[in-house]
Amino acid sequence: MADLPAVVSGGWAPVAAGLLGALAVAAALLDGALAGRAAGVRSGMGQPAGEVARLLRQRRRTTVAADRLLWRIGGAGLLGMALMIVTVVPLGRWTLFDLGVGVVWVNALDVLAWAFVWLTGWGANSAYALVGGYRFLAHGLAYELPLMFALVAPAVAASSLRVGEVAAAQQGLWFVVWMPVAFVVYCLGVVAIAVWGPFSPALGRDVAGGVTAELSGVDRLLFLAGRYALLAAGAAFAVPMFLGGGAGPLLPAWAWVLVKAAVLLAGLVWLRRRVPALRPDVFMEVGWLVLLPAVLLQDLLVAVVVIGG
């Protein structure tokens, strides 16, 4: 069994936040480039930077009788969630927060998306924004249980809820190889909490931008940045859970963690233009009749292997 990651002092937290930010910015640039290519523009990479500059100097839009407190909490919350998730992700030999129940910690944080996205939709006092918020919750009812059971599989295989021990249990064989269903469902869950790609009807053009309909200026910037950060944090957490942590030839462990996270993140960003939007009402049945049984069977298989082997 490999060495468990050592806890570093809290002074390194800004570095972890910086790495998360770098991944999120890279994701935004990649998305800009892909959007540019789809639109036939030569360099779409500059588009995200332009959007940031525009939003930073845009005046806040106000709506009548908005619930401003909850609106702001919701809009800024996604970024906070992403930051809290990466605290338990070991970067090779180091970790910020070696929590004994790290897997449940991440699970508790991903549930916060229910609160934050819905509150963002609620706070503006706008019908379209609220419709978007309910669309997200409808998606949530379908993706959350499969996501929870997908996180169970690596924890059962490692007989531990400590993220470092889950990563260390994959010496030789990565969990993604023998629990692919759990991995796919987990990735679907990450895409969902980031309101990304197939789960973007909550921000749909048919409801004038849904949850983001009335968001403007810095609030919009925070919400959008939070989505990219959540994608990045989800990809980073997949590394110790499914992709063998820092294991790999030549490069040091920390570099492998970043490489794997970046590759998975690029895949998730790319997915946006390849997968059609999942209608919440239609996806509900898929979640309960396909994903949930599939991932439960995966858990059963893993449990049998662990007990038998």
Binding site: W105, L137, L161, V282, M284
Partner: protein, 187 residues
């Protein structure tokens, strides 16, 4: 020392957020005040080294309040512009009763002869708590959990407006159910 201060700070937050549930005038604010109160309690449990229980309290309560907000808003038809909701009903009787119950419980907590600590906490306080609560009845409790889940499912099935005859026809021979709401797996 810092732990003590944080613990008491969280206790104050939990109580004040709990009071806020009955003060604010919007369903969303009431729901999420309650969620905040539970999050503070969950963090207190973390300070008691009940890591699993604490994180689980936060997880369950945030999810529960999100669902509660959905139903409350669905059935009460609320939006932020018409904040006129009140969580207190029948205040004339309810207030004295609840104040009385609070004083009774608080008096119990303050005046009970708490035993002094013998020995030291076990290494895994969560496992110790589980053994203390359930002990040899663990299997029975796990069985009760399954029975409860089955009861919920049967309750929903019995309460459902549409039966299998509506869906599959009187002789149950319809190959695809006639549902008003199409599903995603092509039935």
């Amino acid at each position: 020392m810092v732990t003590h201060l944080v613990f008491w700070g969280l206790a104050v937050v939990a109580v004040l957020a709990g009071v806020a549930v009955f003060v604010v005038n919007s369903m969303a604010r009431a729901s999420y005040s309650l969620a905040l109160s539970f999050i503070a309690v969950g963090l207190q449990l973390l300070l008691l080294q009940q890591l699993y229980v604490g994180v689980l309290v936060i997880l369950m309560m945030v999810m529960e309040m999100a669902i509660m907000a959905v139903y409350m808003n669905m059935f009460m038809g609320m939006n932020p512009a018409m904040m006129s909701m009140n969580m207190v009903h029948g205040a004339r009787h309810a207030l004295p009763v609840s104040v009385g119950v609070f004083l009774l419980l608080a008096a119990g907590a303050l005046f009970a002869p708490w035993p002094s600590r013998r020995g030291s906490p076990p290494a895994d306080v969560t496992a110790a708590l589980g053994m203390e609560l359930m002990g040899p009845k663990m299997l029975a409790m796990a069985g009760v959990g399954v029975v409860m889940a089955a009861t919920i499912v049967s309750g929903v099935v019995l309460a459902a407006h549409r039966t299998r005859y509506d869906r599959f026809g009187d002789d149950l021979r319809r190959p695809r159910p006639a549902d008003p709401q199409p599903g995603g797996v092509g039935r």
